[in-house]
Amino acid sequence: MRSVGAIVAYGFREAVRRKVFAVVLLLTAAFLVLFWLANHFVFRELSSIQPPNDVHVDTRTFAGAFLIGLAMFATLFLGVVLAVFLTLGVVSGDAERGLLQPLVVRPVGRGTLLLSRFLGAALVTTVYVLAVWGIALAITDRTGHWLPASKVVPGLELAGGVMIVIALSLLGSVVLSSTANGIAVFMLFGAGLVAGLLGTIGHALNSHAIKHASTIAAWALPFEALYQDGLRVIAKDETGITGFLLQLGPFGGAYVHGWGIRVWAVAYLAIALAIALAAFRRRDL
């Protein structure tokens, strides 16, 4: 445990020193200010939204769910940025700079070293994601007096999604250079988001092929599935026209959801870490 703590602290100090936290906190502050402005103006002008008389839309719920969906997207994005910059150079980058070799030859071993770096990054990003999610909820509650039915599950799913990205980034750091790894992880993240939006389009158009492709992408990249499931959970109690309109939007929610994808996400995380460990143990430094 002494060595695990030492490596976690080492990673933390490295991130502080490289101003990773400073950049992410700056971006977060900018996002939260913009998010507050969006909430302020949307809810102030809510009364001016006049749907036709025969269309029964709960405008407050619609606006609140839409804004919270936006907050979920931003929280996931910022969490992924933090996760990637904490882990993209853990193996190849540190080995190229000669930082890794003195640590690896110690009895602590490669497995403990990699898992400790995962643990440190997971701890930091989980605290970060839950904090940003909580602040976003508080902003919407204070300005619009609206909160989703479920508050905890979406936050945990966002944190889980970021943990999967950490595992993928660590795996990438074993086999790719830092730059290539950063590009690869962000491309995967982008591909996941596009696949999720495609799923929404596929359901709106009732296209079987697009829905099928989106389902495969959700299982292949479960961080996206967890995010989509979180979106589904925040609006799951909305029915009728309000629920229908929310489903059509970019924050419409998942079509692959429930415990199956959550269990798969945990298994996927474990598999990605196991492959990273096996590859790291075999790698010449």
Partner: protein, 280 residues
């Protein structure tokens, strides 16, 4: 007791390049062995296999009887890489604290103080690494390698960035460690340094051992130099045993003898002969 380092038939292939071709080598208890060879001879690969950074393609390497790379083996060695860096934001003392935690050392502040004194960095304990010269960082690297009182020390070019005073500090330190029973495998291009401190020298060329022995064993007789009133001449092929007879003959011939010098090849000459003039 098994040797500190035992390497048998060690082979390593990187793609189409055979870096090591069945190397046999032993470092005994308290022995200081120098590893020489031109660039690409396989010296660093051998050291990296011994510390577990690289997996061998064939043969075996053991550290104090434990398979190289295993947790037990790693617990018994200290290592200074040729190209290493410590985080610039750590102080010298913090670097040693980190390595104490990773190696399970219970030496605490007393061990850190002793190690920093050993490498003449006692006054720089609180100085951050990025404020240190390359030579200071290299001496800190040596101190780091000594954390946890390792039985075997593997040093890859430990004096490459040091000035003459720093080299002397490390040389004296190596001699002191040997006296304490620590075994050392020293990989260096500095032949004079190897000649001064090493009990044995192993010369690698293209992944194979081409010469091995003590510096005295590796040096060859080059004749006897005789200085008389006729001038200085070298009697090639003559050995130390021939010197009294050569002096007696010169005196008998009416010559006045001012000096006699038994010539042997230096380690540098032996090295150049062994590697066939390969650049190093």
């Amino acid at each position: 007791m098994p040797p500190a380092l035992a390497v048998h038939g060690l082979a390593k292939r990187y793609g189409s390049v055979q870096a090591l071709k069945g190397v046999d080598l032993e470092v005994g208890e308290g022995e200081l062995v120098g590893l020489l060879g031109p660039n690409g001879a396989g010296k660093s690969t051998l050291v990296k296999i011994a510390v577990g950074l690289v997996r061998p393609s064939g043969g075996r390497a053991e550290v104090a009887g434990a398979r190289a790379g295993s947790r037990v083996a790693r617990a018994r060695l200290g290592y200074l890489a040729e190209l290493f860096r410590f985080p610039g934001w750590y102080s010298a003392d913090e670097v040693l604290v980190l390595h104490q935690k990773l190696s399970g050392s219970t030496g605490g502040a007393a061990e850190r103080k002793r190690l920093l004194e050993l490498v003449a960095l006692a006054d720089a304990a609180d100085r951050r690494v990025d404020g240190m010269s390359k030579g200071m960082q290299q001496r800190l690297g040596v101190a780091q390698a000594l954390v946890g009182d390792p039985r075997l020390l593997l040093l890859d070019e430990p004096t490459s960035a040091l000035d003459p005073v720093g080299r002397r500090t490390v040389r004296l330190l190596l001699e002191r460690l040997r006296d304490q029973g620590v075994s050392v495998l020293l990989n260096s291009h500095l032949l004079s340094e190897i000649e001064l401190v090493c009990d044995r020298v192993v010369i690698l060329l293209a992944g194979e051992v081409v010469a091995a022995g003590s510096p005295a064993e590796l040096s060859r007789p080059r004749g006897v130099e005789l200085e008389t009133d006729e001038g200085t001449r070298v009697i090639e092929g003559a050995t130390r045993e021939d010197a009294p007879r050569l002096v007696a003959e010169a005196v008998a011939a009416g010559r006045r003898v001012f000096g006699v010098n038994v010539l042997t090849s230096t380690l540098e000459e032996t090295y150049l002969e062994a590697v066939g003039g390969e650049s190093s």
